[in-house]
Amino acid sequence: MALIEMELKKFIRQPANLFLNLLFPAVLTIVFIFAFADPEVGMSLNSVVPGLIVYAVIFVIMTIAQSFSIERQEGLLRRLNTTPMTSSEFMGSQVITHMLISFLQVLVVFTLAFLLGFRPDSGIQGIFLALPVTAIFSLSSVGLGLITATVSKTPEAATGISFIFILPQMFFGTFVPITSTTEQIAKFIPSYYLLDALTMIFEDDWMNPTILLDLGMISIVSISVVIIGILLFEKYGNA
């Protein structure tokens, strides 16, 4: 609990974190809804909002990578290692904190979108269903953030390397609509399945059997990535 409290204080007290994780998604939500959510150009709010949610969550990769790299550089991880806290307690606190942050981001996007007229076809149920699905997906961002922190020697390098994971997720479906060609590549990217699932949920198509495939892929990929991230970071990145 002490570590979760500390991580949340870090999130709140660091303006860069607040900007990147809350303000920026909020501004993008407003801009995208005004600029693109027009049925005449072929995009409904139901298809814009999933992209905004994915965008918000994938930026957790950068936040985690920077945070771990800074703490490693400042000797804080080494110091924490000398306390009786176990490594699973430490990693558990990180995962929980960043899932909470993702949850907060999604709430911001939903609230703003709702105020700007977003009414999913599935009603409020759709929003409630979208939250746990997004929470599971946020595990993949935590895992990719840890992998980034493992291979980055400095916080600056962490920022750069995190884009290797962020950009493909941004451009294969999140901001740029998928074409039949890019869809084949997008299927290797976890955000593709979240986008697909959220779109179906908001369009009240969540009885569609495809959603089970999406949820299965989101769960398998996210849990695998977070486990790989934790193992790699504990072995190679934690000193």
């Binding site: 204080k9 007290r13 400042e74 080494r78 110091r79 000398t82 306390t83 009786p84 000193a239």
Partner: protein, 312 residues
Amino acid sequence: MSSDIKGVLKQLDEKELRKIAKLKKINIPEKWSKTLILELLTLNVSTKDVQTFETKPLGKKIESDDVSAIIVKDLVKQFEDVTAVDRLNLEIKQGELFGLLGPNGAGKTTTINILSGILEPTKGAAIIADFDVRRNLDEIKPIIGVCPQEAAVFKFLNARENIELFGNLHGIPKDELEERTDAFLELLGLSDASERKVKGYSGGMLRKLNLIIALISNPKIAFLDEPTVGMDPRARRKTWEFIGSLKDQHKTIVLTTHYIEEAEALSDRVGIIDYGKLIELGTPKELMEKYETKNLEQVFLKITGRRILEGI
């Protein structure tokens, strides 16, 4: 603080404790409880002070006993082609303040990092309070406190939050943690700045906070890696007094420092290491006699200088 002194202080009432504090020129706020005053005094009172107060005699000054707190046997740490610690052998007694000296890159910090479980040794053994650092880290971590060379503190938290975070990780009960935090902040002169974010602290303040975090869990064994580096002379002197008072609490302390006068003033014994090897060991007095010098700094320069000249 030995249990003897603590026992004597516990028998005194608040008024008497305040008198001792006055004798020690420690400013105790009126609102402080007896427990808090006791906590502060146990960090700062020597046997001599209690005797001066004419309580019952306490016997001889506390010395280190014969029980080994740390045993290092043929310890080796290799980083690719660099041998940072080279077959190091050491035995540090319980209650001893041991100064580990050496030039930059001699292997002091690596040794401390191995003893505190941060690094794994390449070869050899290190035993802390009967526990093996390779196998029993879970038993070692609750009894040690580590003050790293860099001020490893969370910059976005204030001093109190930093201390309480690490206290919580050590499982200290809330009330006790609050009292200990207040006492340490007062002792090291950080009370007024305790609610300020650490980001704005000076180097010396960060060092003090670094030291408090290492000691908040009341560890049996403390590793202090250059705890006073970057402090101004006054703050350094105050911190020396504080570290000296830890000896009275019967703590085992391993201190690395570049201030040889610090080691001379505080240490029961010193070990000088260079290129990862222990090249001299003894009390400051023994070493000064052996090398026929007036102070430990000259001993240090003689040993390390000679090694440079001889190309060892």
